[in-house]
């Protein structure tokens, strides 16, 4: 008769086993004297640990009134909104200097911008001449929206060298920022010489407010390791941030599943990366906070502050990569490019 390993008994006593596992252990315990003795000694060990840890407790004091914390939270959110615009600018500089794809669009709060990479056929070299170089350079005074009809050759699924994008002007920037902006424009002019993929930017309406929605049955919350083995190592995420949870929805047996990875920034803010078949991801995005209650894809995509929440999506063939969070759109855009580049390089 196989005896129960000690760690399983720990898990059993901690109620960390499934019902069926627990039943199995109980029936073994009923028949096995030696395992019962082990269980008792482990129970004693657990109690001692708890008692030892209990000595490491600070003097107990009454918690402050919850309303005082509410006020602090409200104060902070007002301040954060004020800073958000400046933050957007700073983030766009980072995006401009460091990262990938050429694209430009002004994203206001409450709108999703989807970057759709087209698989346009290569066009003759002659056609690529005039408008391209001027695009990013001319881009600096007026906010741009919508598609840019760039006639440059499309390039798909290759890592691209540093290439640039002009940034989003903010009327209230100081002179120092003004100068920094000029620098980034200069960088943009240099970078645009590289052939860029054709990107179409289409703003989408974001519906409603951010309400939590329960997960539906088809979703599974997985461990990081489990998700990695299921998807063959490329779980969409940002390196170096703690992962709060991984949720997976299997679609087709042979295809990579739809995944939602929640990660936490150092300030506690949560961002979510979504990767999956394009139709599913866009449905997920358009449904978040939506009113429909049939909710097959009713997963909570955002736990961010209403009002400054953003989502950004990039379509690659029949897959779509999206990221959501209460961050300036430029930051999200920078992140999505980085994830995209990392996933391609694997």
């Amino acid at each position: 008769m196989r005896h129960i390993p000690e760690d399983e008994l720990h898990a059993y006593l901690d109620q960390g086993l499934s019902r069926s596992q627990a039943v199995e252990i109980e029936s073994h315990l009923a028949a096995c004297h030696s395992c019962r003795a082990t269980r008792d000694s482990i129970a004693a060990l657990r109690d001692r640990t708890t008692a030892l840890l209990a000595t490491l407790s600070p003097p107990r004091r009454l918690p402050p009134a919850f309303d005082s914390l509410r006020e602090r939270a409200a104060d902070r959110m007002t301040t954060r909104r004020r800073h958000a615009r400046l933050g957007a600018w700073a983030a766009s500089l980072v995006a401009a200097v460091g990262l990938g794809w050429t694209a430009s669009a002004l994203v206001g709060p409450g709108r999703i911008v989807s970057l759709t990479e087209r698989t346009a056929p290569p066009v003759p070299a002659l056609d690529t001449s005039a408008p391209k170089a001027s695009v990013a350079a001319a881009d600096t005074d007026e906010p741009r929206q919508g598609a840019r009809p760039a006639p440059s050759p499309a390039r798909r699924l290759e890592p691209t060298p540093v290439r640039l994008e002009s940034s989003r002007p903010i009327p209230t920037v100081t002179q120092a920022l003004e100068k920094a902006r000029e620098d980034s424009i200069r960088a943009a002019k240099l970078a645009v010489l590289d052939p860029a993929p054709v990107l179409e930017l289409s703003p989408l309406e974001l519906r409603g407010s951010e309400q939590d929605k329960p997960l539906d049955g088809m979703w599974r919350t997985m461990s990081w390791d489990g998700a990695q083995s299921e998807t063959g190592r490329s779980v969409p995420h940002i390196d170096g941030l703690p992962v709060l949870r991984v949720q997976v929805q299997a679609t087709d047996q042979n295809k990579r599943p739809l995944m939602v990875v929640a990660q936490q920034l150092s300030d506690g803010q949560v961002i979510q990366t979504i990767e999956g078949p394009a139709a599913d991801v866009s449905e997920l995005l358009s449904r978040r906070g939506g009113t429909s209650s049939d909710g097959k894809l009713g997963v909570t995509v955002s736990e961010a502050t209403p009002g400054i929440d953003q989502a950004m999506a990039m379509q690659l063939g029949d897959r779509m990569l999206a990221i959501t969070g209460a961050l300036p759109s430029d930051s999200l855009r920078a992140m999505i490019r980085r994830i995209n580049a990392e996933m391609r390089s694997k």
């Binding site: 960390g16 840890l53 600070p58 919850f66 150092s266 949560v270 209460a326």
Partner: protein
């Protein structure tokens, strides 16, 4: 929703303070950080608030530890200054005993690997196996194994230390 957070606050605030205290070893600081965690929860409205709160608490404690290292350098510089000794109060015997006991458990806890320690503290704070797994990136099946090891090490380290102290006392008496 806000009410849910308030309920969670009433039920877990003490556990969050304790969790933080075992990382920063300063009661007041632990309380400040715990309040900070809940203020952030109010602003961010996480959908799994309990797990979220402990994840943020762990992050704050980590940042705090880094800051403490910087402060320590500064403190060593000031160490030469004379500091008034606190006078011993009549009831100090109990508290001295408690302090000693606490120091020994603290030391035993320090012998664990950071990961084992984290998982033990999360468990002691009331998180379930799946919650611990989600927060630490461990497979749910591995949580029991880790806890088994962590508990054994904590108790063994503490026992060894008590034996040492007893031997030391005996040597001093003879």
């Amino acid at each position: 929703m806000s009410d849910d957070l308030e309920k969670l606050y009433q039920s877990t605030y003490t556990a969050v303070v304790r969790f933080l205290y075992r990382k920063v070893w300063d009661a007041e600081r632990a309380e400040d950080l715990a309040q900070e965690v809940f203020v952030r929860a109010l602003a961010h409205r996480p959908d799994k608030p309990r797990a979220w709160i402990f994840a943020v608490a762990a992050n704050l404690a980590r940042d705090e530890a880094r800051a403490a290292v910087r402060r320590k350098r500064h403190l060593t510089l000031l160490k030469g200054d004379p500091i008034a000794q606190p006078t011993v109060s009549p009831s100090a015997d109990d508290s001295v005993e408690h302090d000693e006991k606490m120091a020994s458990v603290q030391e035993a806890l320090g012998t664990l690997t950071p990961r084992d320690r984290e998982i033990l503290l999360l468990w002691d704070a009331g998180l379930s196996y799946p919650e611990i797994a989600a927060q630490t990136g461990l497979a749910v099946g591995a949580v029991g194994t880790t806890l088994a090891r962590a508990r054994r090490r904590l108790v063994d380290a503490h026992d060894r230390q008590q034996n040492r102290t007893r031997l030391g006392d005996n040597a001093a008496h003879s």
